[in-house]
């Protein structure tokens, strides 16, 4: 019966494989093809220019700045989000500790769990509207309003959060962290609940305090989930298109002031649709793909550990 099995399996695989190839793989190959031309995006006339787009790309200071911003986000977004989410998940599940009574979450943890998840259900468009109000550059903004009220800021000269080259990128980062923590909190909570309670109780009896339990027991046992979260967040850090293009100043897809919040995706889109340098943009797309790929593989490799069984 063995030889009859393969036609059967292939029969089932054929349609999805064809669909995947046509809709997923082919566009990648096509993009790479376009990246070797001077295609303007509006006509079908183009000339083969070899690797010229790539050499131009590495001399492009704006591209390098955008890349630097993405790398910064790549470092800070996962680290901040994961640490916060882990901390909150720990507090909600096992962090609460009176004198006796075993392992439990802090008081009101059920309530916090729901509240933390709220930002996750907001769409990016709503986030943009919301944070436009938060970061408003006069005392009508939430942040500036509070700072003025408590006297930390001169109302005549408020901080222009999204127009200040020094703050704009970090303001955007804060939005994504704010939105993402709830989701990863739920992810880590679920993982934490699959750890037998007795393990935490054993740690408690062994004399481990909250900090020691967190770093020596909880963290290592959640490593699988942390790894997954890291890959998701790294991919999110390579994006940032929607927030940058809606919230920051600058012609076509934001990125200002003076490219200080420019990221690869916005620069790509501007080249592709606004400057009409579509071939150049495709080369950029290929580079972004490679970087994302390397980051993902790196994250999975470096963090690989033995599987933990309970």
């Amino acid at each position: 019966m063995r030889h009859r099995k393969y036609p059967f399996i292939v029969g089932f695989l054929f349609v999805p494989v064809v669909l995947y190839t046509v809709l997923m793989v082919w566009p990648y190959i096509q993009t790479f093809g376009y990246s070797l031309t001077d295609w303007s995006g509006e006509s079908q006339t183009m000339h083969f220019v070899g690797l010229k787009n790539y050499t131009t790309l590495f001399g492009d200071t704006v591209f390098r700045e955008a890349l630097l911003h993405n790398v910064l986000l790549l470092v800070f977004l996962p680290v901040i989000t994961i640490l916060l989410a882990l901390f909150f998940a720990f507090m909600l599940n096992v962090g609460g500790r009176g004198t006796t009574g075993g392992v439990q979450g802090v008081r009101g943890s059920g309530f916090y769990r729901v509240v933390f998840f709220f930002p996750q259900v907001l769409s990016v468009a709503i986030l943009a509207v919301l944070f436009e109000a938060v970061y408003r550059s006069d005392s009508g903004g939430l942040l500036n309003g509070i700072l003025v009220k408590i006297g930390l800021e001169n109302p005549q000269n408020p901080i222009e959060w999204l127009n200040d080259p020094g703050t704009v990128l970090w303001c955007l980062l804060a939005i994504v962290v704010w939105q993402g923590v709830g989701f990863y909190l739920v992810l880590f909570s679920a993982a934490m609940q699959s750890i037998p309670r007795e393990v935490f109780e054993a740690a408690l009896l062994d004399g481990a305090g909250r900090g020691q339990t967190f770093f020596r027991v909880t963290m290592p046992l959640l490593w699988d989930s942390v790894q997954t979260a890291w890959v998701y967040l790294a991919i999110a850090a390579m994006d940032f298109f929607a927030l940058v293009s809606t919230l920051t100043p600058g012609t076509a897809y934001g990125g200002g002031p003076d490219y200080h919040s420019e990221v690869l995706s916005t620069y790509l889109m501007r080249n592709f649709l606004f400057y009409g340098k579509s071939g150049y943009a495709c080369a950029m797309g290929v580079v972004i793909l490679l970087i994302t790929l390397v980051v993902s593989v790196f994250a999975l490799r470096v963090t690989r550990r033995e599987r933990i069984e309970f």
Binding site: T99, T100, A202, D206, A208, P220
Partner: protein, 372 residues
């Protein structure tokens, strides 16, 4: 080393009116091996967890030595616990698992190493010190959990059904190992189990709990020979004691065709309370097969009661006969132990007489023991 005292310790779970552990009072001597036993839901694990500090104590006190630990956090109680599922840290090696508590306590590395190696030697774990728990068998994991407790040299060991995840043969083997180890270390131990065989074989003393109430604390021998009430009588011993309700007669208790001697005052007291019957208990091995010579009440019938054999369990050394008998007009299930070489067949009728001095009489209404 230390004594452990439960002083009217009570635990009421939130949202429940009935205490899970109700006014528990046990004094455990220094170096004693006390087994808490009872059916599931009787509060034995809760009692242990109260002692461990993993469960709040709502009323009363718990003392270890002279220290009142009722509201102390677990880490300040100087206890070590072995969990049913072992609760080993899956990401640490055996050595790290065993040394974790010492590491937290800031003991220097060299000493941790010697103490872990010592414990590993006792438990035959030396060659597994570098392994992770997942690469160990159930029995080995159990020993690591034991090792983790030993290494700390605590004042009290707490064990929560540590053998119930092992297979039958290993359980018997480990049972003796744990008991032997405890005798050697001389550490006060509180051991929770639902298995009355474990309780009888391991403990210096056994405490039987039911519905959060302590039924009896005694040595295994006394527990078996003089159960304090009906529940203990039925719970301790396997197969269980035969408990038959019989009417009170003048001068004693009539059981089948023979008279069971009972303290007159006790019976009188029971009758005064309105009881017309008492419950007689006879262990399966305390039935003698009547061969016609035993004293009988009526000359026409053979002595004792007639048991019709339903099932025979042959265990090799001996056999258990599960049968029914008519006692005071009702059909009762009776279990009788017979010699391994003379097992009756299904359908046979055996005449059995309870051995003198080996019967137990309990009040039917209160369950209290009436005979001496």
């Amino acid at each position: 080393m230390a004594t452990v005292t439960f002083d009217k310790a009570t635990r009421v779970y939130p949202g429940s009116d009935r205490p899970a552990v109700d006014q528990l009072e046990i004094d455990i001597a220094d170096g004693e091996f006390l087994v808490l036993v009872g059916p599931s839901g009787c509060g034995k694990s809760t009692s242990l967890r109260m002692l461990a500090g993993l469960e709040d104590v709502n009323d009363g006190a718990i003392r270890i030595g002279d220290r009142d630990v009722t509201h102390l956090p677990p880490k300040d109680r100087d206890i070590a616990m072995v969990f049913q599922n072992y609760a080993l840290y899956p990401h640490m090696t055996v050595a790290d698992n065993m040394g974790f508590a010492l590491k937290i306590a800031g003991v220097n590395k060299a000493e941790i190493r010697t103490r872990v190696e010592e414990a590993a030697k006792i438990l035959d774990l030396t060659e597994f010190l570098g392994r992770k728990p997942k690469a160990l068998s159930g029995g080995q994991r159990q020993r690591v959990a034991m090792g983790r407790a030993i290494v700390r040299e605590p004042q009290v060991f707490l064990m929560d059904e540590p053998l119930s995840n092992l297979d039958a043969k290993l359980r018997v083997q480990t049972r003796t190992q744990i008991a032997g180890l405890q005798r050697r270390l001389g550490t006060t131990t509180v051991y929770v189990t639902h298995d009355q065989v474990e309780a009888m074989t391991m403990g210096d003393r056994v405490a039987v709990l039911k519905d959060g109430l302590l039924q009896q604390v005694d040595s295994p021998r006394n527990m078996y020979d003089r159960p304090a009430n009906l529940f203990v009588a039925g719970f301790i011993g396997s197969p269980a004691m035969n408990l038959v309700e019989v009417p009170v007669t003048d001068g004693g208790v009539k059981f089948g065709n023979s008279i069971v001697p009972v303290n007159r005052e006790a019976v009188a007291a029971a009758v005064e309370k309105g009881d017309r019957t008492v419950t007689v208990g006879v262990r399966p091995e305390h039935f003698d097969i009547a061969d016609g010579e035993a004293k009988s009440l009526s000359k026409d019938e053979p002595a004792g009661i007639a048991v019709t054999v339903n099932v025979v369990e042959e265990l090799g050394a001996d056999g258990y006969v599960y049968g029914t008998a008519e006692v005071s007009g009702e059909q009762k299930d009776i279990v009788v132990r017979v010699g391994g070489r003379s097992v009756p067949l299904k359908g046979d009728v055996l005449h059995v007489v309870p051995r003198a001095g080996e019967t137990h009489v309990f009040s039917t209404s209160t369950g209290e023991r009436l005979s001496d």
